[in-house]
């Protein structure tokens, strides 16, 4: 984004009726163009909010940190530069660089680093924090030539690296990865000495823009993709299986096909982190089954489900995979070495992200690995991530076993176990994760920021119900969330989501029954809003209410109990966490 464009966006009037997104920018320099970019990009990424950015006084990062509190801040964006640790580490300060003062500078750096650690720990208890540690080159303070590492510079960098590691382990704190910044904004092109001296703003405009962009991504991680569908021949491995046979396909250095091994390694890592991996291949099905049994595959066959190998169009194979996973195309990435196949799949599944496998292009492969990490990256891995693939595989088996039986009869023999947890744990990210990534069984599709969620949990009249499910086919983990407020005998439901893996188990029925029981409520008011994707929730509500749901729809206790009366199969166990 160019500065002129950012200024135009910032110059547009904001709707004063929108809820405010109050961002505190903490830095020791004059924020100038950085603040302009931050404001412009936040307005683009949060169109439903009125962005308000406040910053502190020049040169006083410590004062700004000290005054920061949750009363007036939803997000804190903190940028530290070397001069914040000691003014002599900047061009603007004219303090001595004599060899005799270097130990004093180091002492100051250590003290300031400790002070910073304490401040961030305090702030992060109530406000989400995005931090960027020094982005500029250290000035030539030490007496060694610039190409030689001095113990002075190395000790300062080591102190900041250790501080950065500590911060990254704090809850509610996200640290900008300097390596990504290095890739996008070369170190030599970041510093603007003229602007630093005359206006106290140290960055070149391009660097300010890139930094703002990355920090915004850090404050609101994009929803990660959920599944990856890959082609086999000349993608997962080198060679055409039908031509070269089971032992002819390769993925190693010896056969000059190492890039396919590197791709498999990443897919395996993604799979272990909870990403669904499926295969869509134009191939002989039996041959593929045998090939996936090869024990030298880096992506083991057991990590993949389902495998769609046939001679039909790939778009139809993708169709079947999406149905099995029960997710929409826009949550999925499709990788193939044929531009024609990519186009065919994209035409039938708008929204799917298609990527051409860069056959024989190692730079392209390296870029692909980073791109896939970005698309599937998440802040943490939950227990549910490790359950997902197996529970889908089991659900598939369950579907085939349940045909012919009534759902109630089938569920009863499955020996379901429920755990209903009403405690409001800010440290458990699973509830918020479900709210922000569930599309189909979602009351209104609204996404909630970290800050808003924590604020919600703190309020006296709010409740949170997290349902965990298990049956003889295996655990599904924490699978459904209802959040809202209790006002006397009325329950107002603001968020209600359930993972698509939990469909057809009557978990939504059990959850609503539990809610009535817990609060002895007479009625529910549901903050419903139709979205292009929440058809399953809409259908459930229509059944429950026996009418088409509208916004703020109300349903009484008697109607709910009547509806549930013949829809609740016996359960093996109900626990309350």
């Amino acid at each position: 984004m160019k500065l002129i464009e950012a200024l135009r966006i910032v110059g547009e009037k904001q709707n004063s009726d929108l809820p405010a997104l109050r961002v505190r920018l903490v830095c020791g320099f004059t924020p100038m163009h950085f603040q302009t970019f931050l404001q412009a990009k936040l307005r683009r990424s949060h169109p439903d909010q009125r962005v308000e950015i406040t910053s502190g006084v020049y040169g006083d990062i410590w004062g700004t940190l000290g005054k920061l509190n949750a009363e007036d801040t939803e997000i804190a964006v903190v940028i530290m530069e070397w001069s914040d640790l000691d003014a002599r580490l900047g061009l603007r300060g004219l303090g001595s660089w004599s060899p005799s003062v270097l130990p004093g500078i180091l002492e100051n750096v250590h003290a300031r680093a400790n002070e910073f650690r304490t401040s961030i720990e305090r702030i992060a208890k109530s406000v989400p924090v995005a931090i960027c540690f020094p982005t500029l080159a250290l000035p030539p303070v030490a007496f060694v030539p610039g190409w030689q590492g001095s113990s002075f510079a190395l000790e300062i960098r080591s102190t900041v690296a250790s501080l950065s590691l500590d911060a990254s382990r704090m809850r509610n704190v996200k640290v900008l990865d300097t390596q990504r910044l290095d890739m996008l904004s070369p170190l030599a092109d970041r510093f603007d000495p003229k602007a630093e001296v005359f206006s106290g703003f140290p960055y070149k405009v391009t660097h300010a823009s890139i930094l703002a962009d990355l920090l915004i991504r850090l404050t609101a991680l994009p929803a990660p993709k959920k599944g990856l569908i890959t082609d086999l021949d000349d993608t997962l491995w080198s060679g055409i299986l039908g031509e070269v046979g089971l032992q002819g396909v390769t993925w190693d250095l010896e056969h000059n096909s190492h890039m396919h091994g590197a791709y498999q390694r990443l897919l395996h890592a993604l799979s272990e982190a909870g990403v669904l991996i499926g295969i869509a291949s134009k191939n002989d099905s039996e041959l593929v089954t045998q090939a996936l049994l090869r024990d030298d595959l880096i992506l083991p066959g057991r990590s993949v489900f389902p495998v769609e190998a046939s001679w039909g169009p790939k778009s139809e194979a993708v169709d079947r995979i999406l149905k099995t996973w029960n997710i929409s195309a826009d949550a999925v990435v499709f990788v193939d070495d044929s531009p024609m196949e990519l186009a065919e799949v994209e035409a039938r599944h708008p929204g799917i992200e298609t990527i051409l496998f860069p056959k024989n292009d190692y730079q392209g492969l390296n870029d692909l690995l980073y791109r896939l990490r970005d698309l599937f990256g998440k802040a943490s891995i939950s227990e549910e991530d490790s359950l997902r693939r197996d529970s889908i595989r089991r659900a598939h088996q369950v579907d085939s076993q349940s045909s012919g039986k009534s759902l109630e009869a089938f569920l009863e023999q499955a020996a379901p176990e429920f755990n209903f947890d009403f405690s409001k744990h800010p440290a458990d990210d699973r509830a918020l994760e479900l709210i922000n990534k569930t599309n189909q069984f979602n009351l209104n599709g609204r996404r909630v920021s970290d800050a808003a969620w924590q604020n919600f949990l703190k309020q006296q009249d709010t409740f949170l119900l997290v349902t965990t499910y298990n049956d003889k086919y295996g655990p599904l983990g924490k699978i459904a969330v209802i959040a809202g407020r209790v006002r006397g005998k009325t329950i107002e439901i603001e968020n209600w989501v359930m993972s698509c893996r939990a469909f057809s188990r009557r978990i939504e029925h059990r959850s609503i029954e539990e809610l009535l029981r817990r609060f002895d409520a007479d009625e529910l008011i549901l903050d419903f809003e139709a979205t292009p994707k929440n058809g399953p929730l809409r259908e459930f509500l229509a059944d429950l209410m026996d009418s088409t749901p509208s916004s703020a729809c109300t349903v009484g206790r008697d109607r709910i109990l009547e509806y549930l009366s013949n829809r609740l199969p016996k359960v093996a166990e109900v626990a309350h966490g």
């Binding site: 160019k2 500065l3 002129i4 200024l7 547009e12 100038m32 602007a195």
Partner: protein, 81 residues
């Protein structure tokens, strides 16, 4: 020249969104209260980015009106082409 005028007007319009485009040519440091030192830095950075050039530090004090900046830019752009 017309192109430079148009692009410079764009820069002024971005930095001073409250000033209408037809009034921009009449703007100077004295008749526009919002044109303070911070606005100057922002305006010059926008011009540098838009025209792909670096303004000389010693020239900045004289660049106090739209017309003066336009004339300065015309000379600079002609010299660099």
């Amino acid at each position: 020249m017309a192109d430079i005028r148009e692009r410079l007007t764009d820069c002024f319009a971005a930095v001073f969104p409250d000033v209408s485009r037809q009034d921009i040519p009449k703007v100077d440091h004295y008749n526009l209260a919002r044109w303070d030192s911070v606005a100057s830095v922002t305006l010059f950075a926008t011009i540098e980015e838009e025209f792909g050039l670096e303004l000389d530090l010693e020239d900045l004090p004289a660049l106090v009106s739209f017309e003066k900046i336009l004339s300065y830019l015309s000379t600079k752009v002609a010299a660099s082409s």
